[in-house]
Amino acid sequence: MSIVVDIVLVTLLAVAGIALLRIRNLFAVVMLAGIYSLLSAGLFTVMDAVDVAFTEAAVGAGISTVLFLGALALAGHHENRPGHTPLLPLIVVSVTGLALVYGTIDMPGFGGADNPVHHHVADHYLKESPNEIDIPNVVTAVLASYRGYDTWGEVTVVFAAAVGVMLLLMGGRRSRAAAGDNGRVGGDGQAGGAGDR
């Protein structure tokens, strides 16, 4: 039964992905990207990754949609029709895709318990984490303890990104205001209007 749900969700994701490609109203694109994230959260639940599913639902469908909407409010939401022919990108994408599909033929099938990925450290985590860490949720035990340095690095990245965003959005604005707002390159009225909002 879960394989049917899996196939339906995966197909819906493919439809959403192709719709994302074709729509040119960026507001609709952002909303559809939120739906896409929610569908992928559903798929993660079916594939037993419950922690990933709620992170994706909160971060991918929630926070990232809000961020995109904020960016659209500042930057406008119309996309121009692409000026050049899409032939070269299509060729590049098809060749890459075919090479990847060729690579998957040798992969062990979906859901097999004997797949190589399930041996090595995963066994250790499942058998020993109750004795070593004593948290029922193995994902939490691995995230916070066995791979604590990964999480620490992740926090560093988030901090760096937050500092970067603040510098980009506030630092630039203040120094421009000090310079009498003549730092703009292609200055037409639009740019100033976006900054005031």
Binding site: F44, T104, G112
Partner: protein, 132 residues
Amino acid sequence: MSLDLFVSHYNYWVVILLMMVGFYILISRGNLIKKIVGLNVFQTSVFMLYISMGKITGGTPPILVGDGHGGDAVEHVVYSNPLPHVLILTAIVVGIATTSVGLALAVRIKEAYGTLEEDEINRIEALVEASE
């Protein structure tokens, strides 16, 4: 092509399709915000590939049954692989961080050039260079 191969690899193939949709948006569309959406689609497809590999048919989420200290009922439970889940949890958070930096850059580019279209930005750059 046998039906078996199709069912056991369907996930991987749709993941590749989505990956290529994201890649195509990234290289063929000129709007910077649309490019970031494409990058997100690409990213999510990688998450799905990893989670697909961690799934065991008939398995349960890797949350230990009972008190976690053995007992014979626990022997018969099959857990999906927790390791890809941990890696992808980290990747999701890093992904939102890079997305927000990309969006902030796009907003600044819009303020500086008045447009988000790649070809118009190139044209303005060429004009500025010619006038110097």
